[in-house]
Amino acid sequence: MGPLLEPALLRRLEALALQVRRAVSGQMGGERRSRRRGQSVEFADFRNYTPGDDFRLIDWNAYARLDRFMLRLFVAEEELPLSLFVDLSGSMDWGKPNKAETARRLAGAIAYVALAALDRVRLTVFAEGETSGGAPSRGRRAAAPLFSRLQSFPSGGVTNYEKLVWPIGRQRPGMTVLITDGLGDSPIDPALTALQRAQQEGAVLQLLAPQELAPDWSGDARLKDAETGVEREFTATPLTQGSYLRALAERTDEIERAAHRRGLRFARLSTAEPVDEMVQITLHRIGLLV
């Protein structure tokens, strides 16, 4: 098994950073503006001294002018909790280039951007069986183990977005990125609603293969569902191709509308697009990365 991401790509990713629209509260110090007051060079506010406060923070110049003890408050800089939810269901193990493989690389790239900025990354894969979570990772050195985990998760099984509701619900406010093809039979709304409730600022990245966007076959076939294994006889004609493309467009539009309704970013990606371009162009365009 080769490396998930090439060293050259990793170097380019170090120049990027996750963009958050509001201040966040992490557990450890980092490079993100926190809603809490802490130690940094950036002045935030004054407040009256109360016993027990660190007297090192008293602004003596203010005392000289006002004859009152005032504390100078500074913006705390903390880490950004980033949760990555990667769909590795049966429908993702399809297409050329393979959607699951591309999802792994994309998740790895976003995670590396966060790790390089001392943000905390929690990776969750939902596929066959139980949803697989993991311990949060922090710092560049955590990248290699995280990449190994990504590559070790097998793909397959039925998409069930409802399984994400509980893991999302226990997130601390932060950023969540959901990478999926959105084609599962179950609705995606519960998962997005959970994101909103958990005060997650995030993005839904829909990943589709070029063969899905423009079917390259016609004629008679026995169609087999990649997740359920259900089969059905089918004759592809220009008319039925059009019907399929309309259904696909409706489905993706539905996901986009649901994401925007909840203040989430949305991007539709094709696996024909290199991960490098996805990260540097598309994710930059939707404001996820800067």
Partner: protein, 614 residues
């Protein structure tokens, strides 16, 4: 005549074996399709759409399908077209059908759309489409000179092309000549039948057809109306003081008609006269002719169903005069008779003063014969004994008679009361053919070679001929025969030959038709110009010693028979001479092209149904 029992027959019944394609198509639908498996990420996005369209194993139950129905329908239609079904058509056809298609002037009438000729062509084309594979057809265009345009052929394309290529002439329909052509094409025992598509306005049939024809003739009348007004006469008369044109306008219809007559000289409008003509009424108009006009034209400025008689043209110039020399000791009758022709300038000379001269177009020798006759038309009357042309000793004659009563030189010449006292015995003369004779001897001989010349073998004073009305008429006939006007200035009918005598010394003679086409004629001899189908003014140009001499003649319809236009209900046609039973059969109407077209439509529908996923 055009009705028959509708029983379908087939020209290619063996093609019915193609019907095996129908069970073959059904068999294909019994076969189940083997479909390749394709994994798709989300089956629920694909519509429920299943259609068998390929032969496979194993067998399956036949499912009703629009595609199957349309394919069976298309195959059935193609099989039906392949056997070439034919319906009996209305026409009773013989094995050899002779179509006589009237292409005369009256067929230009537009009382039926697009014209009588167009309607007749449509009817003939319909008959051609009904020809069976064994049938043959001949098409004869009946005009002033009937011609065979398609001869004994069964090729429909050839026949259609021949019929569609026929154009109407401006002349009359010579049905007798057309029937003579048709008779020549039919052999004894042939199963032939003739079909005349005409408006019935044809020249009277010759008496020789009263014995009957070897085939029956069916008359198919074309045209309905006789509502027409036309110009039937236009002549220019010159008197001592004035020149005037006399025009006759005739309403041939059953309805009153208001027309206006445009009067032009050399295309310059001189006058417009409104006229109201009652049904069948004609009116004469006297119209002025300018002194310097070459031609005058009258035009009816109202549109009717027949345009050919709405224009009349006449030559306004007086013809050029001929110089005629009369060598005679004295003959008042002869001089007066010759002077009746206005275009002759007569010089009289005593025999003693005669010298041969090329200045005269014609020479008349009365009781005198030169040593050698001049090169040109001559009339020799009673040559003296001893001359080369003199006959035998005089014989007593008495009554005279025509050698051939139908000879055009004796037209209107009544010889009933003509007597001759005595005349030369011309029985042994080799001068030419006899024109007038008696019991005893020929009296008047004529010849064409080397020049048109006439020999009268008696002294006019020894006869009562000069006292009869026949004399000036005979002299007129003879002089016009020997010396036709260089270019006759009167009006000709379309397709009537015009005799043109080149002027002495003419190096080129050409005729310019009304449409501007130029035709060259031979200069050495009298020429006959027969290409006179277009009506209008013809110009004859002769180049004489480097100068161009122009003369004119006009061609106009001027035919009451044609202009009255009303097609006769019945046309008297010659009886059928043959007693053999005519083995006519009904024509065949092939319907396979329509079936094949329907099959094409079904195939297109099947294609659309497939692509629309029906």
């Amino acid at each position: 005549m055009w009705k028959g029992a509708r029983v379908m027959s087939f020209l290619a019944p063996a093609a019915a074996v193609l019907a095996l394609t129908l069970p073959a198509i059904i068999a294909l639908y019994f076969l189940k399709i083997r479909r390749p498996t394709r994994v798709v990420p989300a089956l629920h996005l694909w519509p429920s759409q299943v259609r068998d369209r390929q032969a496979n194993v194993p067998w399956q139950r036949l499912r009703p399908s629009w595609l199957l129905f349309l394919q069976l329908l298309a195959a059935a239609a193609l099989v039906a077209a392949a056997v070439q079904p034919v319906l009996p058509a209305g026409a009773s056809l013989a094995r050899h059908s002779i179509v006589l298609l009237d292409a005369s002037a009256s067929m230009q009438a537009t009382d039926v759309a697009p014209s009588r000729l167009g309607e007749a062509k449509r009817q003939v084309n319909a008959v051609i489409d009904q020809l069976g594979p064994q049938d043959r057809m001949t098409v004869i265009a009946v005009g002033p000179s009937p011609r065979i345009v398609a001869s004994v052929t069964g090729d429909r394309d050839t026949l259609h092309r021949a019929v569609n290529g026929i154009t109407a002439s401006n002349g009359p329909a010579d049905l007798s000549a057309a029937l003579a052509l048709a008779v020549g094409l039919v052999r004894v025992g042939d199963d032939a039948r003739a079909y005349l598509f005409s408006d019935g306005i044809v020249q009277p049939l010759r008496a020789s057809f009263s014995a009957g024809l070897p085939f029956p003739v069916e008359y198919h009348r074309v045209g309905v109306s006789g509502e027409n007004a036309g110009l039937t006469s236009l002549t220019v008369r010159t008197s001592a003081q004035t020149r005037a044109a006399y025009l006759h306008v005739q309403n041939f219809g059953q309805q009153p008609r208001s027309v206006s007559v445009e009067w032009r000289a050399d295309n310059h409008l001189l006058d417009v006269r409104p006229l109201t003509l009652a049904a069948g009424q004609g009116q004469d108009l006297v119209l002025p002719v300018p002194a310097n006009a070459t031609s005058v034209t009258a035009r009816l400025a109202s549109s009717d169903i027949f345009a050919l008689d709405d224009v009349a043209t006449a030559v306004a110039r007086t013809p050029r005069a001929f110089r005629v020399l009369v060598v005679t000791p004295g003959n008042v009758f002869l001089e007066q008779a010759l002077r009746l022709r206005t275009d002759l300038q007569v010089d009289v000379l005593a025999p003693a003063a005669y010298r041969a001269s090329a200045a005269y177009a014609m020479t008349v020798f009365d009781r005198f014969a030169p040593a050698t006759l001049p090169d040109g038309p001559s009339l020799i009357i009673d040559p003296p004994a001893g001359s080369a042309l003199a006959g035998g000793p005089p014989v007593g004659i008495g009554r005279v008679r025509a050698a051939d009563a139908g000879d055009p030189l004796l037209a209107n010449v009544d010889l009933q009361d003509v007597h001759v006292a005595r005349g030369e015995d011309l029985r042994s003369s080799t001068f030419g053919r006899p024109l007038i004779g008696s019991l005893q001897t020929p009296l008047v001989l004529v010849r064409d070679e080397p020049f048109r010349q006439v020999l009268i073998g008696f002294d006019l004073h020894e006869s009562d001929l000069p006292l009869r009305i026949a004399f000036p008429i005979l002299m007129q006939n003879l002089s016009e025969w020997m010396l036709p006007p260089s270019v006759p200035s009167h009006s000709f009918h379309p397709d009537e030959p015009v005799t043109i005598v080149p002027e002495p010394g003419a190096t080129s003679v050409s005729v310019i038709q009304p449409d501007g086409n130029r035709r060259s004629l031979a200069t050495g001899s009298i020429a006959t110009f027969a290409d006179t189908d277009p009506t209008g003014l013809y110009t004859v140009e002769q180049v004489i010693a480097g100068t161009v001499e122009r003369s004119w003649f006009s061609v106009n319809l001027f035919s009451d028979v044609i202009s009255q236009l009303k097609p006769p209900e019945r046309l008297t046609l010659p009886p059928t001479r043959t007693t053999a039973v005519q083995a006519t059969h009904h024509g065949q109407l092939e319907i396979w092209p329509w079936i094949a077209l329907a099959a094409l439509g079904v195939v297109v529908a099947e294609w659309l149904a497939f692509h629309r996923g029906i």
